[in-house]
């Protein structure tokens, strides 16, 4: 018997009113399980930033989350434009978000750096014109 739970979410594009639904659902589930609270906070940050990125840049995408007693693995995949320069995108303060998004309080250039800091491992697979897939892992105990 497997003790891994998995969940899938659709992140709608261009809908800031629904961004955060997947992350709050995952957070809720982890709380119900009684997961380590620091791990829950880190997962919430990483998932939320990932959702927001997909809404801002990629017209939405999909999230797949696997929860086991040892770790939480998140895969966020989109069919967006891809990231031209990953090193630059990882730099704090660098952002390509449009003005309307900045007016909402986003576009500080903190999304990917926040995700990297909150997780124990993060991999970015991206191709121009094809999309971006992020794999992130948070261990129950850091």
């Amino acid at each position: 018997m497997s003790n891994t739970l998995s969940f899938d979410y659709i992140v709608p594009g261009d809908d800031f009113t629904r961004a955060g639904e997947a992350s709050s659902d995952v957070k809720h589930k982890l709380k119900q399980i009684g997961y380590d609270s620091d791990a829950i906070r880190r997962v919430a940050i990483a998932m939320y930033e990932g959702e927001i990125n997909m809404v801002i840049h990629a017209g939405g995408g999909k999230a797949h989350v696997e929860i086991s007693p040892e770790k939480i693995e998140m895969t966020l995949a989109d069919n967006g434009p891809g990231i031209k320069d990953v090193a630059l995108a990882m730099r704090e303060g660098y952002s390509t978000a449009p003005d309307n998004v900045r007016a909402l309080g986003f576009g500080a250039g903190m999304g990917l750096p926040n995700m990297k800091k909150s997780t124990d491992a993060m991999e970015i697979d991206t191709a121009i014109g094809t999309g971006t897939t992020l794999h992130m892992t948070v261990y129950a105990k850091r």
Binding site: F16, R41, Y48, F106, M110, N114
Partner: protein, 111 residues
């Protein structure tokens, strides 16, 4: 420890949403308007002073287990945000004072 209700009374804050959750404890405060910045740093059980009254601010505050949002400078809470805050029963308060002035007063109260 001070509750959201006591904080609202002492700082003359108007309660816009989350009336059922005013017994939440407040252990500190945080100020900021850039959501990703706040997402990374907002402590749990903090009163978050901001001018961002949109639905994403509610999401950030709730995901980070903040005690409440305090909109400063009479910043508006938009309809979608109000609806979300009510749905989550998340306290949103309002002040006419700016974040600096209110934050300084709050610091005096919480110490």
């Amino acid at each position: 420890m001070m509750t959201v209700k006591e904080l609202a009374e002492r700082l003359e804050l108007k309660i816009l949403a989350g009336e059922a959750s005013l017994d939440r404890p407040v252990s500190g405060g945080y100020t900021g308007d850039l959501l990703s910045w706040v997402m990374a740093r907002l402590p749990a059980d903090a009163a978050w002073l901001t001018v961002m009254g949109n639905i994403n601010a509610i999401a950030v505050a709730s995901l980070k287990d903040a005690a409440c949002i305090v909109l400063t400078d009479s910043a508006p809470l938009d309809d979608a945000a109000l609806e979300k805050a009510q749905e989550l029963s998340f306290p949103v308060l309002l002040s006419e004072q700016d974040s600096f002035t209110l934050g300084a007063r709050m610091d005096g109260l919480l110490r």
